[in-house]
């Protein structure tokens, strides 16, 4: 082996130093600069490739579109509300802050993501097919009536108000039980403007059969839930339109009187209405202003919207006959500011704005000369139980050009499929192209 080593050295020693080019350094530096340029080009190619994929997906026909739409981090009201059709209801209820909630034609409870405008159908535990569903003003919680088999030893049927935290996905159940221990069917739910309290109204259930769900109505009840403590105060009362203010004072409006109730310890006051509202009944909407002074009530009127105060006075906000010559049905959704109500308006053909739309209107306790009426959204789909996170409506700046909603694009792909795999595929393709270019580059350079 030593001989092989010696012989190799002998062969090598016969080799004279081989000449090398004088410009090796310059060529090496040029190659380095070209390499750097290629890296920059490669990065740009990847960015362009991904961007191109996103543009292609967002600009094609409806079949090719997905929910890869601009994101509004702080949330916004979408510029359209459509019925999404058949969505797959998800058990994952932690969808984040919502801007809108409703019950679709498919009976699914749907929320619209406040940040990206995507629609989510929620598989709410023990939610009945019919019943109130209300999104909190801040869009973070969803209150709905539930009914379920009761706990062992308790009432056969447990009913009440469930509050879903859309950020954590946790559902908190607050059973509604009358003073006699009977379950109460919840027909109306209202949020306080600070999203801290939920008020509900309902009636006792005397007979409940699992097969038919037929029931015999008992007496009415009113309840207020403090979400910070989970404690609930209830009051035997009539059934009506219910709301609550930021001091936990619930307001229940029936056709003949208004009831104010905070807790059993502070008692309740019942005042006759100075103007009867015969059309107000159970399940109708009501919304109390942040100051607690006025409660807007849906009384089914087509010419004006009544606002009730604690003294039983009824102030009416008349609709502009030029806008709605044949009247319109107005239902309160919440307060965007202390004197600014967001309402759902259903206007017949021939109106300035036909069909279902949302409008901001000044409350009638303000001078009529300062009244505002602003269309927020048009052509809303015929969905049930519509509620809106009114906190997402920006303060009015007094100009008609102010954007109150955000256009998230067409977020309703047929199945709102996950496009992450498409983006991944695009990136993989870009990397493959770059690897090929690199191979070619090295091949050409030797």
């Amino acid at each position: 082996m030593t001989d092989l080593r010696t012989s190799l050295h002998r062969v090598a020693d016969d080799v004279t130093p081989l000449p090398v080019a004088d410009d090796l350094w310059q060529r090496g530096q040029s190659a380095r600069r070209r390499g750097n340029a290629l890296v920059v080009a490669a990065v740009l190619a990847i960015i362009a490739s991904v961007t191109w994929s996103a543009v292609l997906l967002g600009d094609g026909d409806r079949e090719a579109r997905t929910a890869s739409t601009p994101v509004v981090p702080d949330g916004a009201i979408p510029s359209r509300i459509e019925d999404p059709g058949a969505l797959t209801a998800s058990d994952d209820l932690a969808v984040g802050q919502a801007s809108v909630a409703f019950v679709a034609e498919s009976s699914d409870v749907v929320v619209v993501d406040a940040a990206d405008g995507r629609y989510h159908a929620l598989a709410l535990p023990e939610a009945p097919l019919t019943g109130p569903v209300r999104l909190s003003p801040d869009g973070i919680q969803l209150a709905y009536a539930y009914d379920a088999l009761g706990p062992e030893g308790g009432p056969e049927v447990e009913v009440g108000v469930a509050i879903l935290d859309l950020r954590s996905g946790e559902v908190r159940r607050v059973p509604a039980i009358s003073g006699s221990g009977r379950p109460v069917a919840v027909s109306g739910i209202g949020w306080s403007s600070d999203s801290a309290y939920v008020a509900w109204s309902g009636h006792g259930i005397r007979v409940w059969t699992d097969s038919t769900r037929e029931l015999e109505r008992g007496g009415g009840m009113l309840g207020v839930i403090d979400l910070s403590t989970g404690l609930q105060s209830t009051l035997d009362s009539s059934e009506g339109a219910v709301s609550v203010d930021g001091d936990a004072a619930a307001t229940l409006v029936t056709s003949t009187r208004v009831t104010s109730f905070t807790s059993l310890s502070s008692g309740a006051t019942r005042v006759p209405l100075h103007e009867q509202l015969p059309a107000v009944g159970s399940g109708d909407r009501a919304s109390t202003s942040p100051s607690g002074e006025l409660t807007a009530v849906d009384d089914g009127s087509s010419v004006s919207l009544p606002f009730v105060d604690g003294e039983g006075d009824v102030l009416r906000r008349s609709l502009d006959t030029e806008l709605y010559p044949d009247g319109a049905r107005v239902s309160p959704l919440g307060w965007a500011a202390d004197a600014l109500l967001l309402a759902q308006v259903d206007a017949p053909a021939g109106s300035y704005v036909e069909g279902r739309h949302l409008a901001l209107m000044s409350s009638p306790d303000r001078p009529e000369s300062t009244w505002t009426y602003r269309i927020v959204m048009r052509d809303i789909a015929d969905v049930a139980e519509l509620s809106v996170a009114v906190d997402l409506i920006p303060d009015l700046d007094g100009t008609s050009s102010q954007q109150l909603t955000h256009d998230f694009g067409d977020v309703l792909a047929p199945d709102q499929r996950d496009i992450s795999w498409l983006i991944g595929l695009g990136v993989a393709a870009a990397i493959a192209v770059l690897m090929g270019l690199r191979w070619l580059w090295r091949r050409l350079l030797g």
Binding site: L8, V11, V20, G28
Partner: protein, 165 residues
């Protein structure tokens, strides 16, 4: 104006050009290919000088080893057709009068490179494996195969190679 890096590169080339030339010749068995090999490796060194200037020789030698094998693969692809159509069958095993220099030319580049690293550069099996990106067992088997082939090609070199190698 010459920068410090360029001066350092020039100093390295001037100091190690002869040693690199010897290794390159042993790897290729051809003066022209050896010259190309040295130039290509030095070009790579110039390109990455800022990164390797503290120990450029190890980088240049590794570049030569890999570049030689890479070139050989490419040449083999290009030359296969000519061998098949234009040349009568070559029977190297019948040529018993080969010198060591000529016998090395009938080894594969990997076999030749392993022998050069083991017996000329005096690297251990582990160091050879690391330099070529191979496993130690591959280096062992390649060395064994290379020596066996040398004995077959040039029996008169058996004394150099060693009977038990």
């Amino acid at each position: 104006m010459i920068t410090d890096d360029e001066a350092g590169f020039a100093e390295f080339v001037a100091g190690r050009q002869a040693a690199l030339s010897r290794t390159a010749y042993l790897l290729t068995g051809d003066h022209h290919l050896a010259q190309d090999l040295v130039q290509a490796a030095l070009l790579q060194a110039a390109k990455h000088w800022k990164r390797i200037h503290t120990s450029p020789e190890a980088y240049v030698r590794r570049a030569m080893y890999h570049q030689n094998i890479s070139w050989w693969r490419r040449r083999r692809i290009l030359e296969t057709a000519l061998v098949e159509h234009d040349s009568p069958s070559v029977a190297p095993d019948t040529d018993l009068r080969l010198s060591l220099d000529q016998a090395l030319g009938h080894l594969t580049p990997r076999q030749r490179t392993v022998l050069v690293l083991r017996f000329y550069e005096d690297l251990t099996e582990a160091e050879t494996a690391r330099a070529l990106g191979l496993s130690t067992s591959t280096v062992k088997s390649t060395t064994r195969q290379a020596l066996a082939r040398l004995r077959t090609l040039a029996p008169e070199l058996a004394q150099l190679i060693g009977a038990d190698a």
